[in-house]
């Protein structure tokens, strides 16, 4: 935006991303950290904070950010532009500095999410091939300045979030199904024919091992975000593009064989307004938390039985990540972060002039 362009250029000159104030205090309960993108004033940042709400690092972004990929192997993380952006910023956690900035190759843009291989050597990104409109998974060589090595067809249109499965070899890809083209802003071009899918892909050769769809009459439920439990079970957060007079369930699960839409009470589906923004498992992997920013609520589900455990209200809540203890989550919405369990909610931080963006990750 107008002001942010000017500000961003001047901010880039800053040598360090560590704020001089407030004083950094490590959390008593283990020192876990989280990172999420936010808007502050007319600028966009990706911000690392601790469980006391102290800011540990503030990375200026040229425009609105979205997802973040982390790797514990080399201590780098990648902040992606919100679609249809084409920047991704690599941050070195140890030195708190921008290591590199990469750009989507010509004729492509990022969809906002990516993930590393377990050894941290490869970065996988969801991308749009503008000419064909086909979804693409970009494969980048981390040790060679994140150069694009190859690309695989994602098996659908509009791949959004992707995640590495516990086997270390399979990528789970949420093909949202919605065709867009940046020349037409964010217009959705194929709502009548959209066909979202969950694809399991061999990350080494791009071979699609399996593709899973909901029933044909549910084809307007866009499969967009996911969280993978240590068992390999996948929880998916959906967005419904059909008539608003239908109130849809928005949680789907995948347990090895089938993509299943989980029933939810009508009061909840009505409140969620056909839109789930983000999803995560708690540290134990036993509980799923799913946020609904339009409904200002987060719902919690048993990861095995898929029963609803509870829900909490929080304004504009979207970012969700595992907390420090089993059963705990960290939430972000508006200018606040909260600690939450299915049965409790408490403020953990409040941030001046902040609008927290869609996603949050926990950073080891």
């Amino acid at each position: 935006m107008f002001a942010s362009r000017r500000l961003f250029l001047s901010t880039l000159a800053a040598a360090t991303l560590t704020p001089s104030l407030p004083t950094v205090t490590l959390a008593r309960n283990g020192g876990s950290k989280w990172m999420a993108c936010r808007k502050t004033g007319n600028t966009f940042r990706a911000t690392l904070f601790n469980s006391n709400g102290a800011i540990l690092m503030d990375v200026p972004l040229p425009a609105r950010g979205h997802g973040i990929a982390t790797s514990s192997v080399h201590g780098q993380l990648v902040i992606f532009a919100r679609r249809p952006g084409n920047f991704a910023i690599i941050v070195d956690l140890a030195s708190h500095s921008i290591a590199q900035e990469i750009t989507a190759s010509a004729g492509r843009h990022f969809y906002g999410h990516g993930c590393f291989s377990q050894d941290g050597k490869f970065l996988y990104t969801t991308e749009n091939d503008l000419e064909s409109g086909a979804g693409v998974i970009g494969v980048r060589d981390v040790e060679n300045d994140y150069a694009l090595i190859t690309s695989h067809a994602s098996g659908g249109i509009g791949p959004h979030e992707l995640a590495l499965m516990p086997d270390g070899e399979t990528l789970a890809i949420a093909n949202g199904g919605i065709l867009t083209n940046p020349e037409l802003e964010r217009a959705k071009l194929n709502l009548d024919t959209m066909a979202p899918s969950l694809v399991l892909m061999n990350r080494l050769n791009g071979h699609i091992a399996s593709m899973h769809k909901l029933a044909p009459e549910l084809h307007q439920l866009s499969v967009r975000h996911m969280s993978v439990a240590p068992t390999g079970a996948i929880a998916l957060a959906l967005q419904y593009e059909g008539p608003k007079s239908r109130h849809m369930s928005l949680l789907a699960t995948f347990d090895d064989e089938e993509l299943t839409l989980i029933d939810a009470p009508e009061t909840l589906t009505r409140a969620m307004r056909n839109y789930a923004g983000s999803i995560a498992h708690d540290p134990s992997g036993q509980i799923i938390g799913m946020t609904s920013p339009r409904g200002n609520l987060v719902s919690f589900w048993d990861a095995s039985s898929h029963t609803l455990l509870g829900q909490q209200t929080m304004r504009d809540v979207c970012g969700i990540a595992p907390g420090n203890l089993p059963g705990e989550f960290i939430l972000a919405g508006g200018s606040e972060t909260m600690n939450a369990t299915p049965l409790s909610l408490g403020q953990s931080g409040t941030f001046a002039d902040t609008q927290w963006d869609n996603h949050m990750v926990s950073v080891a």
């Binding site: 107008f2 802003e185 200002n296």
Partner: protein, 362 residues
């Protein structure tokens, strides 16, 4: 670093209810607000657009059959009438116009990658007859059948239009005919039984388009915010550039027909109508017992209206005029102030705060 798209992000999608909603406003206030604006502003604007495109089409068809200097003048006048009508519709960024592929099917602008121009030049160079048939034109790239293409065909070499049996004239007629049909569809989609007007009117009961009346009211508020942002970032900031050296006159909207400011003025007329119409946003703000906010809105809109009327030369000329830039920057600032006022204070006062995370599809 690619800056191309920075700043094109629209504040869009559903707004949500702030928990701090002024209890003063009742369900019926939102219903009245959305209904009044639909019937007094939206439907008339689409009616006018439908009429002007039909008149333009008729004018061009008869001019091409019998090109005369008077006919040429009338054709260009009717083009401007059509653009006037479109500029009045342009800020209404919701409803049938947003269906794929969006407002670009009426006007593909900004054409940041020059896609439209490339297609057009190819068609004009090869005199590709398939664009002369409206049905086949409708199936081609939208950049070949929109008002931007029409402006190029008519204004790039206006004298060619008047040549007997000119390709350009037939092509201009075909575009006008396609736009006539699109404008008619838009009006129809709003006003037919069960159409978008009905969706707004019945929003309180929940419809296919709206969960409730607040969402319908939000569509209007949101539209005002998005329209202000488009004026600011696309219509003013892009041609201005960061410095005098980076100013680009051809980035001004409708620069070939020298009507960039007129477009903005008419956009702003619609925006002010949404504010000042009976039961409009000013009234809603007053009903929420926020007379100071309503007064601030009135002050800022008056100021912008006055600022806009002061520019006499086309925007495309002024962006690279060092003396004019301070005034343009001031205009930009006023638009930014108005957007902030509506987005922050007015939205809060009337209980319709935009949800940052509620935007479609992310």
């Amino acid at each position: 670093m690619n800056w191309r798209w920075i700043g094109t992000t629209l504040i869009c999608a559903t707004l949500q209810v702030s928990p701090a909603t002024a209890d003063v406003l009742k369900q019926n206030d939102y219903v009245q607000f959305a209904n009044a604006l639909t019937d007094t502003i939206v439907i008339p604007a689409y009616e006018r657009f439908a009429i002007e495109t039909a008149v333009l089409n008729e004018t061009l068809v008869s001019f091409c059959a019998n090109p005369t200097p008077e006919g040429a003048k009338t054709s260009f006048d009717r083009f401007h009438d059509t653009m006037d009508a479109w500029a009045r519709v342009q800020p209404l960024l919701f409803g049938p116009i947003m269906e794929a592929p969006g407002p670009a099917r009426i006007q593909f602008w900004p054409d940041k990658r020059g896609t439209g121009q490339r297609h057009l030049r190819r068609v004009l160079a090869s005199q590709d007859a398939s664009v002369l048939n409206t049905e086949s034109l409708a199936t081609k790239s939208i950049a070949l059948g929109d008002l931007q293409a029409l402006e190029y065909v008519m204004f790039d070499e206006p004298e060619v239009l008047s040549l007997p049996a000119s390709f350009r004239c037939a092509y201009a007629s075909a575009i006008a005919n396609l736009q006539r049909s699109r404008a008619a569809s838009l009006l129809q989609d709003w006003s037919k039984p069960g159409g978008y007007r009905t969706q707004v009117i019945n929003a309180a009961e929940g419809t296919d388009a709206f969960f409730d009346e607040r969402e319908a009211a939000s569509a209007y508020l949101n539209s005002i915010i998005s329209a202000l942002e488009i004026i600011r970032l696309q219509k003013l900031d892009r041609p201005l550039g960061l410095t005098l050296e980076s100013a680009r006159s051809t980035r001004a909207e409708s620069w070939r027909s020298a009507r960039s400011f007129r477009n903005i003025q008419l956009n702003f007329e619609t925006i002010t109508a949404l504010l000042s119409a009976p039961s409009g946003l000013n009234d809603l703000t007053r009903k929420a017992q926020k007379p100071d906010t309503a007064a601030a809105l009135a002050r800022l809109t008056d100021k912008i209206k006055e600022n806009l009327s002061r520019f006499e030369q086309p925007l495309s000329a002024l962006v690279s005029d060092a003396n004019a830039r301070p005034e343009l920057e001031a205009l930009l600032t006023s638009f930014r102030d108005l957007q902030s006022l509506v987005q922050d204070r007015v939205a809060r006062d009337v209980g319709l705060v935009p949800g940052f995370n509620a935007t479609d599809g992310d």
